[in-house]
């Protein structure tokens, strides 16, 4: 009798432990929100929300805290990454799912996984010594929007490729076979019948990639030039929101430091919006 009682107690206790563990992720998100917003929002109010978000000048020594150049920098660089990474990633996924011979696939799949696993610091080093000298030929120092876009385009490739590939594989074979039977070539069947059917999965991969591009820090800080000025041409250096934080946090004090934390709030809101798009898309796909 006592034995069943104790085992019932154990059963309930462990259930509570499991439940507690499940709540950790909720608590973590809450904590992150609280710490960032509690530190960042008052600072934004102090500087002035409009002045902070749309101020074009960042000069902490003169009390000027405008982060518009960084916001625009992030947008430019991310757009560049999309232009380079999305077509390459999607086409590569098409190759993996519909063109790749089995023998080659055994090598290509680990390649994609490995590309995702390489630390961003290594990407930064290689970009610095391989890409920057090439881009320098187009004028400037070589540390500019083009370099950053190229690097980020490559870095988001594995994300886009693997998500798109699995959504391509989820399309029923009958779509492809039907198109083929109607006389379409292999390529036409894949691009006109299979790819459109995998549209939402592909879009989800692209959104994930965008999230990665906006959030990438170390590699970008090594090769983007990091000027706090709104770039006027593709060969101008840029500073993104992420690099802005990592570069200045180390030596900042007082309001300067607070302003950097407020910058991370802006970044965080960007990410929340992207995440929201992603989960909305996923939910629609399920229905």
């Amino acid at each position: 009798m006592t034995k069943t009682k104790s085992s019932k107690f154990k059963e309930n206790a462990m259930r509570a432990v499991f439940l507690g563990a499940a709540c950790v992720s909720i608590i973590a998100v809450l904590l992150i929100c609280i710490f960032l917003f509690a530190n960042g929002l008052p600072t934004m109010a102090e500087i002035g929300v409009f002045k902070f978000l749309f101020g074009t000048e960042w000069a902490p020594e003169n009390g000027k805290y405008g982060i518009l150049p960084m916001i625009i920098g992030s947008i430019y660089v991310t757009a560049g990454a999309i232009i380079i990474g999305v077509p390459t990633g999607v086409l590569c996924a098409v190759f993996m799912a519909k063109f790749c011979p089995k023998g080659l696939y055994r090598f290509l799949k680990p390649t994609i996984d490995l590309l995702a696993g390489i630390p961003s610091i290594v990407y930064g080093f290689v970009a610095l010594s391989v890409v920057v000298p090439i881009i320098r030929n187009f004028g400037g120092t070589g540390q500019n929007i083009i370099t950053a876009s190229l690097l980020l385009g490559i870095m988001i490739l594995p994300t886009i490729t693997s998500v798109t590939e699995s959504s391509l594989r989820a399309v029923p074979d009958s779509y492809y076979e039907g198109a083929l039977a109607l006389g379409a070539t292999h390529e036409r069947s894949v691009f006109r019948a299979v790819l459109p059917a995998a549209k939402s999965g592909t879009l989800a991969g692209v959104i994930l990639g965008v999230g990665r591009a906006i959030g990438e820090t170390m590699a970008v800080s090594m090769i983007a030039g990091n000027q706090t000025v709104i770039p006027s041409s593709l060969t101008d250096g840029v500073r993104t929101l992420t690099t802005h934080i990592v570069i200045e946090l180390g030596y900042s004090e007082g309001l300067h430091r607070e302003a950097l934390i407020a910058t991370s709030v802006v970044l965080f809101v960007f990410i929340l919006i992207i995440n929201g798009c992603f989960s909305a898309l996923k939910r629609r796909e399920k229905q």
Partner: protein, 288 residues
Amino acid sequence: MNAINKISFKQKMKNYRKHPFSFALMLLVCLAALITAAALVTIIVYVLVRGIPHLSLSLFAWEYNSENVSMMPAIVNTVTMTVLSLLFAVPIGIFSAIYLVEYAKKGNKLVSAVRLTTETLSGIPSIVYGLFGYLMFNKALGWGYSMLGGALTLAIMILPLIMRTTEEALLAVPDSYREGSFGLGAGRLRTVFRIVLPSAIPGILSGVILAIGRIVGETAALIYTSGSVTGIPKNVMGSGRTLAIHMYALFSEGLHMDEAYATGVVLLVLVLLINWLSSLIAKKLEKK
């Protein structure tokens, strides 16, 4: 059967001549795959070529000093950091996955909240984690730069990864296992620990190994939490740099680029090894 549909290369080319647009598409698709593969090869070969000539025994000396920027302390710190982060993240990740799969009822409000938050967590960039860790552990709790603060930050960062892979592994265990165990009179807890978890271990392990890869390569989340002190800290409340931070620090000092590449070789080999291990386990799973 197969032979009927086989088209020779010549026929294929003839077909393409009729459809030049299809041919162009095919070339584009192959080009994209080539670019992807070339990117990886470039990175690996470049780091190896630049780094291997500078790998010397003195770089693995116990002491770091300004003449010999040894990476040994950084290697030890990386191991410590990995173990510490896993110590927090693995039990919590596995337990919460157990709750989601084995205990929660369908349509449970809490479950959808957990799913939403883990999705959010996996999308947050590492610099935001770093800043949060800095605000919470360094400032609010007053720990200063500490390995423990860095490890806790990373633990939150890898939590969604471990949760997701464990969940998938648990879901892959056939229900008949559970029914059999219940039928023999075992309770839910016993069933989970004796029947379900053991058969899910390979899947969980491959997730943990992927998480190790993320810890080893992480920079942005650690630079303001565990800091970049060059030695091995006496305890977990001390500051120490991991390999990736060591590499970044060498870059920003700008004096030891060759040694930075040598560090890069070690880092890259570690990551290659981790990935290989993970895929090896995953392959074993598929065979079963």
